[in-house]
């Protein structure tokens, strides 16, 4: 198993993310409608699909594809998720802009920069029933594994597992941020749509990177 992949081969990571968002468009909106206004899936699908149209016929690497995605979300989508995921992907792209090869330490940096970008925008914390409930434990799990000399793939597996747990943890939380917070106790027993989309994104991204690490064509 390899411990790094080439930036130039990473467009597929973004393409796969687009697909998972498109496939979950209705699911995300249905979750969102229980707490908010039901547009999460619609807006995410719109942004990711615009990105797909812009990258599909181009020779782009991982960082360049992430940059297109981030810019589309930030500049063309609006809402809450436009700036949050826009900044998320742009910060990630920035870290690897001049990197030819991406290893587990680079990916950790990408996750941290993405988190920092989000924290500049919002004062939401872990436990507030937001995407941070998925993101923060995922980063912690990834870091824990690489600090214990785990492989890139092992760290990604741990990241996916923590992302799922983090996403599921929002079911029991009372919404403290965004539109759900008005519901108080009534916001319990419902997943947070942002936490779900963050899980889908991290799961897809990690799965695609694992495929690249496992693929034999890269020497």
């Amino acid at each position: 198993m390899k411990e790094s992949f080439k930036n130039e081969r990473g467009k597929i990571i973004v393409e796969n993310m687009v697909k998972i968002i498109q496939d979950n468009k209705n699911h995300l909106s249905e979750i969102d409608a229980q707490l908010g206004d039901g547009d999460h899936g619609i807006n995410m699908n719109k942004g990711f699909s615009i990105c797909y149209d812009r990258i599909k016929d181009k020779q782009l690497g991982f960082s360049e594809s992430l940059e297109v995605l981030g810019n589309v979300l930030l500049n063309e989508i609006g809402g809450s998720m436009g700036p949050l995921y826009g900044v998320f992907f742009l910060e990630m792209a920035e870290v690897i802009k001049s990197k030819e090869v991406i290893d587990k330490f680079d990916f950790s940096k990408m996750l941290h920069k993405a988190l920092e970008g989000i924290k500049e925008l919002t004062d939401a914390k872990i436990g507030d029933k937001t995407l941070l409930d998925t993101l923060i434990p995922s980063i912690e799990a990834f870091d824990r594994t690489i600090n214990n000399n785990g492989s890139f793939v092992e760290a990604l597996n741990d990241l996916i597992e923590s992302a799922e747990k983090g996403k599921d943890s929002t079911r029991d939380l009372i919404s403290k941020y965004g539109r759900g917070n008005r519901l108080g106790e009534a916001s319990k027993n419902i997943l947070d749509a942002g936490a779900v989309s963050c899980y889908l994104i991290l799961k897809s991204m990690s799965g695609s990177i694992k495929n690249l690490l496992e693929s034999s064509s890269y020497l």
Partner: protein
């Protein structure tokens, strides 16, 4: 879903096109299709008044562009905040060198997009200050007032800040009076039917036949209390019971009343409700100084009403009396 539309994904662009065609006497396009401006803006020597938010609330927000009102508006998708670029372009369209007051509702998306826009505006040397309306008492308890959303009271904030700006107030003064307006107003909504986002195709939630929801959100968010639909007089009492103690509004106060429909409730019914609200306030010796009844801040085809009360002092009274000319609110 039965709607007069072409493509559900294009409803925002299509409605903005129609709006421009209909209101050319005051509205002007900008280079950004998601920003409209008053055709005389930027007005030399005047603090720019900017707002923005999701679509689906007509006449909010673009309907408040006009004379002594809002200079430029950033337009978002249905119920979804405009982008940082749209807010920035609205700021630029209204800026005459005296700075810009960006006055919007307390929604997470709007706050983040405005934050990024201000960063970009600052890089261009434009001074922007903000006030967020948080008048909707049902959106968070009083001890967490900073979390409350903006509601129909946003219109009164624009009206008063616009008046202050037009009489030559500097940015600090415009911001202060907008904040004072926010601090002195409270709102509550009652929902009878849910709304349908065209691209989603079905209502987000159900309100059963014979029921109403108190504390409904402006985006079809569920209410806090579901109860049997009551006569208008009782609805008036329930709404006032939620907002009067919150500020509080007390005997001898002079107030502005704004009663807005949510889109599908006939204005006739709003006047029935207004009459009951007026009587109830009179009984409590709260003086109605001025009232606005109509569709000011809607939620697509949602049924129900949204009530805002603003407590006046001498300055607010003077400013609320200033003439205004916009699509959503005209006052001569």
């Amino acid at each position: 879903m039965k709607k007069i539309i072409n493509n559900p994904d294009n409803v925002v662009n299509d409605q903005v096109e129609g709006f421009i065609k209909c209101h050319q006497e005051i509205i002007e396009k900008t280079t950004n299709p998601r920003v409209l401006k008053y055709n005389k803006s930027p007005v030399s020597g005047k603090v720019g008044i900017v707002t923005g938010g999701g679509s689906g609330h007509l006449p909010a927000f673009i309907g408040y562009i006009g004379e002594n009102m809002v200079d430029a508006v950033a337009i978002g998708e249905i119920f979804s905040s405009p982008t940082p670029q749209a807010f920035l372009d609205a700021i630029i369209a209204s800026e005459s060198g005296k700075g810009v007051a960006c006055l919007f509702g307390n929604y997470a998306g709007d706050k983040m997009n405005v934050k990024l826009a201000i960063k970009m505006a600052r890089a261009k040397g434009i001074e922007v200050r903000t006030v967020v309306a948080n008048d909707d008492v049902s959106s968070a308890p009083k001890e967490k007032k900073e979390r409350r959303r903006g509601g129909g009271g946003e219109i009164l904030m624009w009206k008063i800040a616009g008046a202050k700006s037009s009489e030559g107030g500097i940015l600090d003064e415009v911001i202060d009076v907008a904040q004072k307006t926010v601090d002195n107003m409270r709102s509550i909504g009652v929902g009878l039917f849910p709304c349908t986002i065209p691209a989603f195709g079905k209502p987000n939630f159900e309100i059963e036949e014979g029921k109403m929801e108190i504390g409904i959100g402006h985006h079809g968010e569920k209410g806090l209390e579901i109860m049997d639909l009551k006569p208008s007089k009782v609805i008036a009492n329930i709404m006032l019971d939620k907002i009067l103690p919150d500020l509080p509004f007390i005997e001898g106060n002079e107030v502005v009343v704004m009663l807005s429909g949510l889109g599908a409730t006939p204005v006739e019914e709003l006047y029935i409700l207004y009459s009951n609200i007026y009587n109830e306030l009179k009984d409590k010796k709260i003086v109605v100084y001025k009232s606005y009844v109509g569709n000011f801040y809607t939620s697509l085809d949602m049924g129900g009403a949204f009530l805002t009360l603003l407590k006046l002092d001498e300055e607010l009274k003077r400013l609320v009396d200033v003439n205004a000319y916009s699509v959503g609110l005209k006052q001569f």
